[in-house]
């Protein structure tokens, strides 16, 4: 399994100083943090499920704290002559098990129904197929059937590749790695998937909003893992077509 001859990431770790500058300015982020709520399908799923599970978690946490507090206030040694000797209450314990079981079943249902909804979209016919190749330590995007390839050098040459996508079209990503395991992360739609060498992973997504966001590698992949970033730019259909017309062949950035 020798490294492929067409390896795009020819930069070797040993030739680049780790202190080579990072330029924070280039990371002008359009939508970062919690403000990046958009009505992309995945974002909806994430928001819905995260809200329900957070609410659930907060209720449980507060109830446990209240029970602990009650015990610590009312059952302190200063207030009590002797401790209760009861150490079992089968009916109560059994009912609790049934109750927790029902809660767990609800959470499983919540998880699985939302998951299958998302998985289903992967198998529908896409309008566009983009091949994503990860390598140490940057990205290459190939537009299948369009003779357009975009590749960056990431922080080495300070060129982040930009993944340009049409709005409201189903895009299927076919992801593969050139060397080690990487992970393609689009934080603004809460989606990531790993890239393996000699193996193609796929997922599909429809982007509902135009804008520019950061994406990055989320699996540790060696010396400059933290450099592996890219831009995602979602354009209207006509703007995307114009962009594609000007990007025949191989482009950097």
């Amino acid at each position: 399994m020798p490294g492929r001859s067409w390896a795009p990431g020819a930069m070797s770790a040993r030739h680049v100083s780790p202190m080579q500058g990072r330029v924070p300015l280039r990371r002008l982020s359009v939508g970062n943090g919690r403000s990046r709520a958009h009505s992309v399908p995945y974002r909806n799923t994430f928001n819905r499920v995260f809200t329900i599970e957070s609410g659930f978690a907060i209720v449980i946490f507060v109830v446990v704290l209240l029970l602990m507090g009650t015990a610590l206030v009312f059952f302190r040694s200063s207030r009590r002559k002797r401790a209760s000797r009861r150490s079992e209450w089968t009916l109560l314990e059994g009912s609790w098990v049934v109750f927790v079981f029902c809660m767990a079943v609800f959470l499983v249902w919540l998880s699985l129904t939302n998951l299958s909804r998302e998985t289903a979209s992967t198998y529908k016919k896409p309008a566009l197929v983009v091949k994503v190749l990860g390598f140490q330590w940057c990205w290459r995007f190939t537009y299948v059937g369009h003779d357009a390839t975009v590749q960056g050098t990431c922080n080495f040459g300070k060129t982040l590749p930009t993944l340009v996508l049409p709005r409201n079209e189903r895009v299927r990503f076919e992801l593969e790695s050139n060397d080690v395991v990487h992970e393609f992360w689009l934080p603004h739609i809460d989606r990531k998937i790993e890239l393996f060498p000699n193996h193609v992973n796929t997922f599909a997504e429809t982007f509902r909003h135009t804008g520019r966001w950061e994406g990055r590698c989320a699996e540790f992949c060696g010396l400059y893992h933290d450099y592996m970033e890219f831009w995602v730019r979602v354009e209207s259909k006509s703007a995307y077509a114009r962009w594609l017309a000007h990007h025949h062949g191989f482009h950097v950035g």
């Binding site: 399994m1 780790p18 202190m19 982020s29 970062n32 943090g33 799923t45 994430f46 995260f50 599970e53 978690a57 449980i60 029970l67 602990m68 015990a71 610590l72 059952f75 302190r76 040694s77 002559k81 002797r82 401790a83 209760s84 000797r85 009861r86 150490s87 079992e88 209450w89 314990e93 098990v97 927790v100 079981f101 809660m103 767990a104 959470l107 998880s111 939302n114 998951l115 060397d179 080690v180 395991v181 992970e183 992360w185 934080p187 989606r191 990531k192 998937i193 790993e194 393996f196 060498p197 193996h199 992973n201 989320a218 699996e219 540790f220 992949c221 060696g222 010396l223 893992h225 933290d226």
Partner: protein, 571 residues
């Protein structure tokens, strides 16, 4: 305490000649489980300090965005060693060593089963630690992360002997703990004193039995995974592409998930013990808890796929189902904690403070675990600081607090001297603040998109305040650990004698014998009392209490005593 002791069980008399050997050889060649355990705890604490310092270095670098105190290469080595060291050289050995010390005492055994094998495993562990740390002395230390995914960890991307030494150290340390675990299980299953049936073993002993069964079942997978890398480093073509590039992750996580439970079950046992003792009650819901622990252990073997949700190669619905269902045994454990407190007569001492803090802090780890077991959320959180926050809440805010509860509680038993209570409380509050200041903000960092294992980040992410808080918190934790080590040192110098039971609340058989216990744990002066339940000393104390009440009633009524029912009112 000895006057409470009911008819002693016949014990083999220990000849005068068989006394523990003095001097350093008496320690390093001892087959006494107490000495093996104390040495293991000591080495693991040294490892804790070493790998904790690495965490401090990383937090210094991450305190400000785009900061480079250390190079990327060094940073990658730091988190590789911090992760693997804390897991295989600190928490796992600490968890098993608690069992090596306490299980023989709690089941009334004079020694640990396969004592020489146990001693061997200690030395294998120490050798593993040394070999693993030697990796740091090479020109290219291991730097592929603690789960060392292939192909990154192979000889093309991680050349040199550094990674080889690291692999060997991992194999040695993990094998050692697998062997030591076997000794603990064997002791609990085969060396129990007369009267100590399986359902009269204390909750702590059960937690150790379950822990050690998990390590025996899952640690071979780590040896297989590390062995796979070792072979692949010679020639990766021995494996098919998908085996090498992909299947490795499955082998690794078959160990990687159960080991998390190995690192927290014994401390759940510590918390349960301390809560019961300081509430002056038997642990509530014993039978349900034991079944829950066993179910938890069985479940731990079928949830590893939740680490692989984003590989696109895992059966996500199945692993989401199994992982979330673990909330059921966890719920039973929490019920036991709360119900033990309810109706008690609670005294708050240092061990109790740590045990009480464990409850909500570990709960945060558990509840965020449910989120990570939900694939549609994990697709966002995987590989981010949200995950880092989650497992530090389980392993630091949870396990370490449970371990501190256990250490403060059993320190007098193991050393014969008590720890300073004022310093203990100081230690607790500093650690509490430091822990939450460090790991709480990490949830926000992850939510805002900060990936883990990055040597630096941009301020455009908008998490600068949170990363700074985490770094300051790490400093506070270091201060808390410093207070703890000072307390241990001071108490060992000042030497306030502990007596048989300085708390006066002990429930297990370990509290009937001397502090520290004699060579074979129990002797004519400290015989094993009658064991009628999983809290034999509490039974005896309650009998005395009833006798006194009975006498009082008899004096008032002029009637014979013993009229009070044994079972009191419910909570």
């Amino acid at each position: 305490m000895t006057e409470l002791v009911a008819p002693p069980q016949p014990l083999p008399l220990v000849p005068e000649a068989i006394q523990p050997r003095a001097g350093i050889v008496g320690w390093i060649a001892s087959t006494d489980h107490k000495r093996i355990a104390l040495m293991t705890v000591g080495v693991s604490l040294v490892c804790f300090v070493i790998f904790g310092c690495m965490a401090l270095l990383m937090r210094s670098q991450l305190a400000r965005p785009a900061q480079h105190l250390v190079s990327n290469q060094v940073y990658n080595e730091l988190f590789t060693f911090h992760g693997s060291g804390m897991i295989v050289l600190f928490l796992t050995p600490l968890a098993v060593a608690f069992g090596v010390y306490l299980v023989p005492l709690q089941v009334g055994a004079p020694m640990i089963a396969a004592a020489r094998t146990c001693l061997f495993s200690f030395w294998l562990y120490v050798s593993g630690a040394i070999v693993l740390l030697l990796s740091l002395a090479t020109s290219r230390p291991a730097d592929a992360g603690w789960y060392a995914y292939t192909p990154l960890s192979d000889s093309r991307y991680s050349p040199g002997t550094g990674t080889d030494l690291w692999l060997l150290g991992m194999i040695m340390a993990v094998s050692a703990m697998m062997i030591m675990s076997g000794c603990v299980v064997w002791t609990a299953l085969r060396l129990r004193a007369p009267g100590v049936t399986l359902t009269r073993m204390p909750v702590f002993t059960w937690s150790e039995v379950v822990t050690c069964m998990m390590s025996v079942a899952s640690f071979p997978a780590l040896v297989a995974a590390m062995g796979m890398i070792a072979v692949g480093r010679v020639d990766p073509n021995i494996f098919s592409h998908d085996t090498w590039d992909l299947a490795y992750q499955f082998v690794f996580w078959f160990y990687g998930h159960p080991v998390v439970y190995v690192m927290f079950f014994p401390f759940v046992g510590c918390v349960a013990t301390v809560l019961a003792a300081f509430s002056r009650k038997k642990y509530f819901g014993y039978h349900f808890t034991i079944v829950a622990l066993l179910a938890f252990a069985a479940g731990s073997m079928v949830v590893f796929g939740h680490h692989l949700f984003t590989t696109g190669q895992s059966t996500n619905p199945y692993f989401s189902l199994t992982s979330i269902m673990l909330a059921v045994p966890a719920g039973v454990e929490y019920f036991g904690f709360i119900a033990t407190l309810m109706g008690g007569k609670i005294t708050i001492r240092t061990p109790m403070l740590f045990a009480l803090a464990f409850i909500p802090q570990f709960l945060i780890g558990g509840l965020t675990g449910i989120m990570l077991a939900t694939p549609v959320l994990d697709y966002e959180f995987h590989g981010s600081y949200f995950v880092v926050a989650h497992f530090h809440y389980t392993l630091f805010a949870g396990s370490l607090f449970g371990a501190m509860a256990g250490i403060y509680y059993w320190f007098p038993k193991a050393t014969g001297v008590v720890l300073d209570e004022k310093l203990g409380k100081l230690n607790f509050w500093i650690l509490l603040i430091g822990t939450n200041a460090t790991f709480g903000p990490m949830f926000v960092q992850g939510f805002d998109g900060l990936p883990r294992r990055v040597a630096s980040y941009s301020s455009n992410l908008g998490v600068d305040g949170f990363t700074l808080a985490s770094s300051i918190g790490a400093g506070i934790i270091a201060l808390g650990v410093g207070v703890f080590l000072f307390n241990v040192a001071k108490s060992l110098v000042v030497r306030v004698p502990a007596g048989v039971d300085p708390w006066g609340l002990g429930q297990g058989l370990e509290w009937v014998t001397a502090s520290p216990p004699p060579l074979f744990n129990f002797d004519e002066l400290h015989p094993i009392p009658r064991v009628k339940s999983y809290a034999p000393l509490l039974d005896l104390r309650q009998e005395v209490e009833d006798a006194q009440v009975g006498e009082a009633v008899a004096q008032v009524d002029g009637v014979g005593g013993g009229a009070l029912p044994a079972g009191g009112a419910g909570p």
